[in-house]
């Protein structure tokens, strides 16, 4: 038997493996070939760089150890590590075992997989001082312990840190069921190596799993590896179009469902079929509807938790762009040459539409500028052109670019060196999409920190009144600004934090990215946010976004203020 490595039962395994590798190679080659030239160049430049080494390390920590999942929940982490690392070691040690017993010679794949069957006549005593049988049995038990948890999770996900898990597709069910059979069948077959039906069972389980795998969520097992390297080499998805690289992201999604619990549309508005796992699933299988693409606040809470680090928001924006049928040609021509700015100064201030609709913030900004003795150029006080972010979030990237071009020219024409904005929505698009070389873009919170540290602004310390701070999505997760507003607030009062804060902060519910979420759902979210802040015992809620301010005020009886208003109240 050792000589041929053949028995009838290996056929399902061989067929399954062949299909698996044929499909995977077909997919990867196709996606790589279709990468735009720019991305291909990035691959060549990155291949022999330190990025590749970092990628190898990331493959180890994420594909095998699953470090990020451990952070969500240790039991969930253990389950994934047991499957990934356990199975990986079974394969590696299996190969070593083959060499130890058969020497360095060609052994076909099935020879490794069904080693115990083909070598049942051999002495399986220790080789090189290692008792391989025991090692392999321990590894198999390790995987089986993960399997027990996986079965348990299907019925009691809450115990493993997940209130909800994903609904499965048919392909997922076939793959999952066969996967659940693989390891118990292996244990049985290896325990009774002379029983052929057991080997048939093991081989069929493997074969079915391998055939179903590339069409199911288990495609992530392989796809995460190329994704990690491509990402390390600097390839990203784009908001303005769907790209070939997107396929790697879509198929690296394991639909683990960790994105479902943080989603406030699920928690507070009862929407159960629009979360990132479902969006990715629908896009992957070409059945994406506008309903799913549009029902999202793009708050980024799921993206922070995604164990595969997928660009969930960008992928959704790409889809919105593909699905949006609005022609943008010339719609905004009237906005050219609009210059209603006033004042003169090296520092420009851009209010944005939402600040213009919140005149208290604008008034506070004016008083703060005066107190600091700043000469300000007011870009859009008497009206101006939109920053472009709302159009971008709706998928109309071409029209957004028109807005960006018009505004960028306006800023350059007036020779400013610093651009301050009190709107994080504008801030994000200025930083991410505008090319404002020579102009430093600051959020008003960062500008206040600077004024305070330069001694240009002195504030009266506040009383004992406690306040709490809301991290706007676009400012926190969007621009990574968490500390500046807190630093300013701490100079005037006592700050108390809500349960979910900083990069886990809740969305106000009225995100500009919303294309479909109904008003009643937005209010339900705002009320949940309001309750979270009321639970801190604070007397007022401070935020640093005019839109969040309006939105949260709908859900609470506590006063909601912008950072600028608080500062103005404390001007010495």
């Amino acid at each position: 038997m050792v000589q041929t490595f053949y028995s009838g039962f290996v056929i399902p395994f061989i067929v399954g493996t062949s299909v698996l590798f044929a499909v995977i190679i077909y997919k990867y080659v196709r996606w790589m070939v279709r990468l735009p030239r720019r991305d291909k160049l990035k691959v060549w430049h990155g291949l022999f760089s330190v990025a590749t080494l970092k990628g190898i390390w990331e493959c180890f920590t994420e594909c095998l150890l699953h470090r990020r999942i451990w952070r969500v929940n240790p039991l969930l982490g253990y389950m994934h590590t047991a499957f990934a690392l356990g199975w990986f070691l079974l394969i590696v040690v299996g190969w070593v075992e083959t060499i130890a017993y058969l020497g360095l010679r060609f052994v076909p794949l099935q020879g490794h997989i069904f080693f115990d069957y083909f070598t049942q006549d051999m002495d399986h005593g220790p080789r090189w001082g290692i008792n391989f049988e025991v090692v392999m049995d321990v590894l198999l038990l390790y995987v089986l312990s993960g399997l027990v948890l996986a079965v348990f999770k299907r019925f009691r996900s809450r115990a493993m840190g997940m209130k909800r898990t994903t609904k499965l597709t048919l392909g997922d069910r076939v793959a999952m069921t066969s996967l659940w059979f693989v390891f118990p069948m292996r244990l049985l077959a290896e325990s009774f190596p002379s029983q052929l039906p057991l080997w048939w069972g093991y081989s069929i389980a493997l074969g079915v799993f391998f055939v179903a795998m590339p069409f199911s969520r288990y495609m992530h097992i392989f796809t995460e590896v190329p994704l990690i390297f491509l990402r390390r080499w600097g390839i990203t998805s784009e908001a303005g179009r769907e790209k070939s690289f997107d396929h790697f992201q879509l198929e690296a999604c394991s639909r683990c469902g960790i994105c479902i619990d943080p989603c406030q549309l699920q928690r507070d508005a009862g929407m159960r079929n629009v979360q990132s796992a479902y969006f990715i699933r629908d896009r992957r299988y070409n059945r994406l509807t506008r309903y799913v693409a549009d029902n999202c606040l793009l708050c980024g809470r799921c993206q922070v938790k995604c164990p595969v680090g997928l660009e969930l928001d960008t992928l959704r924006l790409g889809s919105r762009h593909s699905l949006s049928g609005t022609p943008s040609n010339g719609r905004f021509n009237y906005a050219c040459d609009v210059d209603r700015s006033r004042g003169e100064g090296r520092v420009g201030y851009f209010a944005g539409c939402m600040t213009l609709l919140s005149p208290k913030i604008l008034r506070s900004m004016e008083r703060i500028f005066t107190a600091a003795g700043e000469q300000v150029w007011w870009a859009d006080r008497d009206g101006g052109v939109c920053c472009g972010r709302p159009l971008k979030l709706s998928g109309d990237i071409e029209a957004a670019r028109d807005m960006m071009r018009i505004n960028a020219e306006l800023f350059r024409n007036h020779g400013i060196t610093t651009l301050v904005t009190s709107c994080p929505i504008c801030l994000r698009v200025f930083r991410e999409d505008y090319n404002l070389d020579g102009i430093e873009v600051l959020h008003h919170s960062e500008y206040f920190v600077r004024l305070l540290s330069d001694g240009r602004l002195t504030l009266k310390p506040g009383g004992t009144e406690k306040m709490t701070y809301h991290d706007p999505c676009e400012l926190g997760r969007g621009c990574g600004i968490y500390d500046a507003p807190r630093e300013v607030l701490q100079t005037v009062g006592t700050l108390v934090e809500p349960a979910e804060t900083r990069d886990e902060a809740l969305c106000c519910g009225s995100s500009l990215a919303n294309m479909a979420v109904e008003n009643s759902s937005q209010v339900a979210i705002a009320q949940a946010v309001g309750r979270a802040f009321e639970a801190t015992g604070a007397g007022e809620i401070v935020t640093a976004c005019p839109l969040c301010k309006k939105a949260i005020a709908r859900g609470t009886s506590l006063p909601v203020m912008d950072l600028a208003e608080v500062i103005e109240q404390h001007l010495a």
């Binding site: 609709l357 919140s358 005149p359 208290k360 008034r363 709908r554």
Partner: protein, 332 residues
Amino acid sequence: MKKIIVVGGGPAGMQAALSLVAEGLKPVIVERSGALGGKLRDWHNLFPSMTPAHEVLEGMTKQMENAGVEVMLHTEVEGLTDGGVLLMEGKKLEGEAVIVASGFDIFDARLKEEYGYHIYDNVFTTVDVERMLNKGEVALHDGSAPHGIAFVHCVGSRDEKVNQKHCSKVCCITGVKQAMEMRQLFPDAEIYNFYMDIRMFGPGYEELYQSAQQDFGVNFIRGRVSEASPTIDGRLQIKAEDTLVGRPLKMTVDMLVLIVGMKASSSNEKYALPLSSSGFLTPRDLFSGAVSSDLPNVFYAGTATAPKTIGESICEGSMAAEKVSEYLKSRK
């Protein structure tokens, strides 16, 4: 004889008490403030007949005195209990039935920050205008007369953005009425009404609306004002869209009047009875059960259940009293 508790001493509550006395029952009015009359005390002339509000109020209070209705002022109801209501500091008031006539709250115009109420000096609400009319001092912040006045309809009505989905019903006609009063005070001023729909549902309302345009020279522009901002010379610039012409417009005025809507009373939650999505108490049905609640001994009257005119609220007061009487008879 056990008492019938009437929560709230506005027009609906006062009429309920008067009708209860007429039925031979003994009402007690529990009123949160220091006087009877509710918001009627703040109004100047009542639409559509321009009857002075104080005439209506005095007529009712005189009847109340003659009937000798018991009134508890400065007393707040905290909720319902078995056989009565719960008052402040855990006190109980026993009664055979309860009529909830606790009225409405005025929408807080500061929530529509874009209109600049309490930010710019010359932005007022219709409630402010009634007060100024009562004082006989209608003027801008600096005491001068306005040359341009704009009324904004539906501030806090039919506006999901501020959780006010409902139509407040009385604001359209209030805007028409106040525009006419302004014309009488300022014959040369430009007066505008910005509206999204004009709902002239009551007797004589449509005639008043016609007259405002034809005889009083009030301009009606169909379109919501999006924002107000100060001009350099201290006036107010408003932006809107004239949706009949299909053009955006900007206009500079001296005085902006926000026609504020009715908000469900925040006290409605205390009764633990069903509320509508806008927060008003939900009557058993909108026909013969319009003043009945889900509880056999609790009845409603006036704007606790929906925006209503003063006349309608008074009608419901009578109707609630009649239903109380029916209920008591049915128990015997």
